[in-house]
């Protein structure tokens, strides 16, 4: 029996109406969050960006867009961890949001209740694979690492295009490196390559007698000045502002070890709605684009495609990793054994 056209049309309208109602309700809910955030007027973000200009740029865009002032507490990883722990233990709740490595958040969840469950953040729907939110945190950006070379000291035919190339005798004693024994980028690279490369890769690298330093930002300058021909691991973004200097980042064919930075809301945050709104803003395409143009890898779809041409190789780099919390003790032990 042929269904009457009028009835079919009415049914279609009803279905569409049913679909619209939840979306509308969700919009209204988020508007309430925005209003509450503006009423709070301020958000305190604990982070370890060490004054990175692209982070400051995102903060300014947030203040401009919403009229909410942002206070940034910017510390090194271990100092920040102890600061948060002490404040929470003492019941002095000063921080709202935190942006730290995913392993640090994992550690916080393991050691206590320093952060709270994350309420819905609409922009998490825009995360590009493989990044996704979990109950307590959302990915903020990815910090990949490669090899930095001095283009005057390293001839084209000698450019290390694989991590294995670093074990060539020609680089013995000439590699400047972040210390691989303590917590940090050096150890992250060490751990990831231990899993991704041949079992004896790290032992061979140790025989090259890399010179350790803990000044990541300044070490790139040292390579540029010609003190050393190679620096590892070079966080891509930390070389994006060295235009005009004789340095270049090489992304090895095996891939770039990386650390993921996440955003979370601290327990008993004084300005919880502003914290949610800040996270929402950080996951906007515009904010992610700021990071992409600084050679950090964005976690939101659409940002990488819009990045500057010279940023394209970095925001689409092949990734290997990340290092995990459970493996950290054995990896740090192995690093101390290879580098006494």
């Amino acid at each position: 029996m042929l269904v009457k056209p009028g009835i079919a049309k009415a049914a279609l309208v009803a279905c569409l109406a049913a679909l619209v109602v939840p979306a509308h309700a969700e919009d209204a809910s988020w508007d309430a969050v925005v209003s509450a955030a503006k009423k709070e007027g301020k958000v305190v973000v604990y982070n370890m960006t060490l004054g990175a200009p692209y982070f400051k740029e995102v903060l300014k865009s947030f203040e401009t867009k919403y009229g909410i002032s942002v206070e940034s507490l910017d510390l090194r990883a271990s100092e920040l961890a102890e600061r948060i722990r002490t404040e929470q233990a003492a019941g002095r709740y000063l921080g709202d949001a935190e942006m730290i490595s995913s392993t640090m958040i994992e550690e916080q969840l393991k050691n206590g209740d320093f952060i709270q469950k994350l309420p819905p953040i609409p922009n998490t729907a825009n995360l590009r694979p493989p990044f996704k939110a979990d109950d307590h945190s959302v990915p903020a950006f990815v910090q990949p690492m490669g090899i930095l070379i001095n283009t005057r000291l390293v001839k084209d035919e000698d450019v290390p295009r694989s991590w294995d190339d670093l074990t060539s005798p020609k680089w013995k004693g000439k590699i400047l490196s972040d210390d691989m024994r303590p917590l940090g980028s050096g150890n992250a690279m060490f751990s990831i390559l231990q899993k991704s490369m041949d079992a004896d890769f790290n032992a061979k690298l140790a025989e090259q007698k890399p010179v350790f330093s803990r000044d990541m930002r300044n070490d790139a300058r040292r390579v540029a000045r010609g003190e050393y021909p190679i620096y590892i691991p070079q966080i891509f973004a930390f070389a994006s502002d060295l235009k005009g200097l004789p340095v270049k980042i090489v992304i090895p064919k095996e891939g770039a070890p990386y650390a993921r930075m996440d955003l979370a809301v601290l327990k008993n945050a004084p300005h919880p709605n502003a914290a949610r709104l800040f996270i929402q803003h950080f996951l906007s395409v515009d904010s992610q684009l700021i990071y992409a143009n600084a050679w950090m890898l964005p976690v939101v779809a659409g940002a990488a495609e819009r990045a500057d041409p010279e940023a394209q190789p970095f925001v689409n780099a092949k990734l290997i990793g990340p290092a995990t919390l459970s493996e950290r003790p054995s990896m740090m032990g192995l690093a101390k054994k290879l580098y006494p």
């Binding site: 305190v44 060490l50 004054g51 990175a52 200009p53 206070e71 940034s72 507490l73 910017d74 510390l75 090194r76 271990s78 100092e79 961890a81 102890e82 600061r83 722990r85 002490t86 404040e87 233990a89 003492a90 019941g91 002095r92 000063l94 550690e107 050691n111 206590g112 210390d179 024994r181 303590p182 917590l183 940090g184 010179v211 350790f212 330093s213 803990r214 000044d215 930002r217 300044n218 790139a220 300058r221 540029a224 000045r225 010609g226 003190e227 050393y228 930390f238 502002d241 060295l242 005009g244 200097l245 950290r328 740090m332």
Partner: protein
């Protein structure tokens, strides 16, 4: 803690007068309860500033987790100390501290003698110039010497190679020599500032008496001049040695790349580069260091025990200088050479670096003023600047007042409790700053919630006062130690009240040292970093933290700009200070 302080106050109040106590001591003890109240307040204040943060650290060294976390009490932190590697680390630390202190003391004595006791030309100007290195933040000179003395591309090595045609690079700052060299940049002017006023204030009649008895100039210098300087010299040398043990920046910048480990970098590693941070070990090491350093201070007390070093008496005297004849130009040149090596070279490096796009790249197309615009346009800089100015002025003033009070009780009275007060004032110097900062963090955070110190600018102020008190006590103790009691007695027998005596005699004669201490503390606060980085919070940033952030972010050029601004302030302060002292001394 409060109960404990009250108990101490009761003990002070109940102390019986001992036979033979001088009449001044008896008078002080038996006058109004105001004295007891003042001393009680002093004890409570020192307890809060010194003992309380250290008690947090003591807890940390005996407990498997930091305060606020569940754990167990044990001695694991102390057991971890006894390893062969730590023995090497300790030897490195002591060796470097000695290698720094001894030549620094020799140089400082020579410079102090030249500028305070001879007729070398332009002494006032030279004094200002040769003390400048003390006031430069270590991170700045580390940057500068890292460029100047770099083994691969350093300017000094390049000049050497250009002059000699050689391919070798004789200078390598990443070495033991580099560590000691960088430390000496601070310890020589530091020692000089501590001892020069003692040289200046000495009554020459004692030297003249020795000369008239036939002693040579050299013997007079050794047996009279140096002996009378013993309190200032031993106190200054001990402070310098302690700071050598606790020095962190030089071993970090120049030692770590060369694989040189000292105690402070070991502590830094255990706190900042372990997961989780090994606070128990770090605090245990620090307490062991404290015990060792305390023994050194006891040694100084023993050396000085029972000896009188009073050189400023009621008898008239006029400070005069030794005439060197044509040798005065030799001493003049020596001072200029010191200034050139310790100020012109590093500051010149910073100045050049601040005008190029990238520090260390001197190409014409990279000349720029963008770093100056960036600094002066930065809200972080101005907030840090204003906070630092406030903390510097208030902190230096309060610290010198506290130090002056402690020193007065310690040196000018016979109270049995004076050693306790002196020891409490000394304690913060025994603990490395990078650990003491943690003690303050824990201490302020765990105060009752009604006390809102944590996370505010007052946390920094209290920490700075605590960290600075040992220096202020040392400076004022040296000044008071040279004042004969008859000056005060003379005032009192003429009817002067205690306050009048203090104002017209003691303070009038000791204030040049007060001024020196104030300037030292002001700039010490300006460059303090270890505690600041842990205690500052949003809104209470200080300049040292701003510098650290810029440095860590690779902005060496902006660090240079701020460094030059700080140098300008140093020059201004020192010029004003010396002008005031000069006019005041002429009035005496």
């Amino acid at each position: 803690m409060s109960i404990s302080a009250e108990d101490r106050a009761d003990n002070l109040r109940a102390m019986p007068a001992t036979p033979g106590l001088s009449w001044i001591g008896r008078l002080l003890q038996t006058t109004s309860a105001g004295r007891v109240v003042a001393v009680t307040f002093l004890v409570v204040l020192l307890t809060f500033l010194s003992v309380y943060p250290l008690s947090m650290l003591l807890y940390g060294s005996l407990h498997s987790t930091p305060p606020g976390m569940a754990g167990t009490f044990n001695l694991d932190g102390y057991l971890q100390i006894f390893t062969q590697q730590n023995a090497v680390t300790l030897l490195n630390t002591v060796g470097i501290a000695f290698a720094k202190t001894i030549p620094s003391l020799v140089l400082a004595v020579l410079l102090a003698w030249i500028l305070a006791r001879t007729d070398t030309p332009m002494r006032g100007t030279l004094e200002a110039l040769i003390t400048l290195p003390f006031f430069i933040p270590p991170i700045l000179t580390a940057m500068a010497w890292g460029m100047l003395g770099n083994p691969q591309v350093g300017l000094l090595n390049q000049v050497y190679q250009w002059v000699t045609g050689s391919n070798t690079a004789p200078i390598n700052v990443y070495s033991y020599g580099g560590v000691v060299w960088h430390m000496m940049q601070y310890s020589v002017p530091f020692l000089f500032l501590l001892i020069v006023d003692a040289f200046r204030a000495m009554d020459q009649s004692l030297e003249e008496a020795a000369r008239m008895c036939g002693a040579s100039r050299l013997r007079t210098f050794c047996t009279v001049t140096l002996q009378l300087m013993l309190p200032a010299l031993t106190g200054a040398a001990i402070l310098s040695f302690i700071r050598g043990i606790e020095n962190f920046e030089s071993p970090l910048f120049f030692g770590t790349p060369a694989g040189i480990r000292v105690i402070t970098t070991d502590i830094y590693d255990s706190i900042n580069q372990r997961s989780p941070p090994e606070y128990q070990y770090a605090t245990a090491v620090s307490f062991v260091i404290m015990a060792l350093l305390f023994l050194i201070v006891l040694l100084q007390w023993r050396i000085l025990r029972g000896r009188s070093f009073q050189t400023v008496t009621g008898k008239g005297y006029s400070p005069t200088v030794m005439k060197l004849g044509r040798w005065r130009w030799v001493t003049f040149a020596f001072c200029l050479l010191f200034f050139f090596v310790t100020v012109i070279l590093p500051v010149g490096q910073l100045l050049i670096g601040s005008f190029f796009k990238f520090f260390g790249f001197y190409q014409q197309d990279m000349l720029t003023l963008e770093h100056y615009r960036a600094v002066f346009g930065s809200g972080d800089f101005w907030r840090g600047f204003s906070n630092t100015m406030l903390l510097g002025f208030v902190g230096a003033t309060l610290t010198m007042l506290l130090g002056g009070a402690v020193a007065y009780i310690s040196v000018r009275t016979k109270w049995r409790g004076r050693r306790l007060i002196d020891a409490m004032a000394w304690l913060p110097w025994m603990m490395p700053g990078i650990v003491l900062g943690v003690g303050f963090l824990w201490g302020f955070a765990l105060l009752p919630h009604a006390i809102p110190i944590y996370g505010t600018i007052w946390a920094l102020l209290l920490a700075y006062i605590s960290l600075g008190t040992p220096l202020s006590v040392r400076i004022m103790s040296s000044a008071y130690a040279q004042l004969s009691f008859d000056l005060e007695e003379c005032s009192r027998v003429h009817g002067g009240s205690w306050l009048q005596t203090m104002g017209r005699i003691v303070i009038a004669l000791a204030w040049p040292s007060f001024a020196v201490g104030w300037v030292l503390l002001f700039f010490g606060i300006m460059r303090e970093l270890s505690a600041s980085v842990l205690l500052y919070s949003v809104g209470s940033e200080v300049l040292s933290v701003v510098l650290l952030k810029l440095w860590a972010n690779g902005n060496a050029e902006q660090v240079s700009v701020i460094g030059l601004i700080m140098m300008g302030m140093v020059i201004l302060f020192r010029w004003v200070q010396l002008k005031v002292i000069k006019s005041r001394i002429n009035a005496l």
